[in-house]
């Protein structure tokens, strides 16, 4: 089984707080990120946090709205917009957190967002769009440290984690390290 069907199988059967690594090719990346959010929100009726290091939140909202996802139920952590705009307009649905190179600030934003998410009793997720981008800005060891922090945090808070990685951009060592922290690994292609 591949594609969204494989992701559905893994996500719907797992228990709360599971972390899944989704490997994808760059060609299918955009399509699968959107479809997976649709699966989580529309089919599985979850609430969530979308942590983006690749697309500004405005672009994400447009893309998700087009496929029928109610973006009001998503809290965005945007680590991209601030790279281009000094002081983006404040918005209670969006946390602007530095850049993909500032993993400390990203971690603080994750804490803040996940606490907010925990206020509602619904099953929640954190979707990270992708780990591979972090390697452009950080040393491999630092990315592994961040991955460990993220997975631990999600487990403690009992939030499902969906972590994307573009397979071609990652060396095998990093994927192995990531897979070791995660509960599942799904090859979407």
């Amino acid at each position: 089984m591949t594609g969204i069907a494989a992701a559905r199988e893994v996500l719907s059967k797992g228990s709360k707080g599971q972390v899944s690594l989704m490997l994808v090719s760059s060609e299918n990346y955009s399509r699968y990120t959107l479809e997976l959010i649709k699966l989580l929100m529309n089919e599985m009726k979850m609430r969530g946090v979308y942590l983006t290091v690749n697309k500004p939140y405005k672009q994400l909202i447009q893309g998700l709205s087009k496929i029928g996802v109610d973006t009001d139920k998503i809290l965005f952590i945007d680590c991209i917009t601030k790279l281009a705009v000094d002081e983006p307009s404040p918005n209670e649905k969006i946390i602007f957190a530095g850049s993909p190179g500032n993993l400390t600030q990203m971690g603080m934003a994750i804490n803040q967002a996940s606490m907010k998410l925990k206020e509602s009793n619904e099953r929640g997720f954190l979707f990270f769009d992708s780990m591979s981008t972090l390697l452009l800005y950080n040393e491999t060891k630092t990315v592994a440290k961040f991955a460990h922090f993220l997975v631990t945090r999600l487990r403690v808070l009992e939030l499902d984690g969906i972590v994307f990685a573009v397979e071609k951009d990652m060396d095998r060592e990093v994927i192995r390290a990531l897979a070791q922290f995660c509960d599942n690994m799904v090859n979407l292609d």
């Binding site: 190179g101 993993l103 400390t104």
Partner: protein, 233 residues
């Protein structure tokens, strides 16, 4: 049971069992831009507003007008506290007479007349220059800040500048004399508009404190620490 003075720095008190030990002297060290002034001003401001404890800010490096303006940007209206006799800014930019004695007298007079329970001295380095030699600064530190302030029941923060890029403190042994040593760190990120800042509690007598460096942010209300956050560099 140790009486503690909450600092008013969001999240910091959780790292030190609820606040600075009463009548202690804490050295607050950091490079320029690490928010030492903001940290210590929050200690005075929230001490006055939330705990009804008057405070004195002794500055050897900044004038009153620029200090008040800078702190207003973080929502701390010290002018209003001055009117209510809950705060006093002591401008010590100009050296006076027999310096150690004069400086001591001025500070003591203000602390006593305001019945101040909180004191900030900014900074040890400027004080050393103002007092013309490190030996005088040590005398001031030992007798005035450690002995007299403790006798008056004042909890004190002494700011110390660390040159950017260096991590050492203690140019005149101030770190050894203090009850607490708190270091504010700054880690520049080349591609990031907002660099990383972190607080480290190197020592705090009578206190079980965190051993981790904990990141913090500077927001519209000053310093905000997430006690659970991790420094990932």
């Amino acid at each position: 049971m140790v009486t503690r003075k909450p600092t008013g720095v969001s999240g910091f008190d959780e790292l030190i069992q609820g606040g600075l030990p009463a009548t202690s002297l804490t050295l607050l060290a950091g490079a320029p831009g690490t928010a030492k002034t903001t940290f210590s001003s929050q200690f005075l401001y929230y001490g006055a507003t939330d705990h009804k404890e008057p405070g004195v800010y002794v500055s050897f490096s900044e004038d009153r007008a620029s200090y008040l303006l800078a702190m207003r940007q973080f929502g701390m209206d010290f002018e209003n506290l001055e009117k209510k006799k809950m705060f006093k800014f002591l401008d010590m930019l100009t050296p006076r007479g027999s310096i150690v004695r004069e400086t001591t007298n001025i500070i003591l007079k203000e602390v006593e007349s305001l019945k101040a329970k909180r004191l900030v001295v900014d900074s040890f380095n400027a004080l050393s220059i103002g007092l013309r030699d490190p030996a005088s600064a040590r005398i001031f530190l030992h007798f005035v800040l450690v002995k007299i302030m403790r006798a008056l029941g004042t909890t004190t923060i002494l700011i110390s500048e660390i040159p950017a890029g260096e991590l050492k403190t203690g140019m005149a042994g101030e770190a050894f004399l203090a009850d607490g040593l708190v270091i504010l760190h700054y880690f520049p990120k080349t591609l990031d508009p907002s660099s990383v800042r972190a607080v480290e509690i190197r020592k705090m007598r009578m206190t079980k404190h965190t051993e981790r460096m904990v990141p913090f942010e500077i927001g519209p209300n000053g310093i905000k620490i997430q006690p659970q956050a991790e420094l990932i560099l």
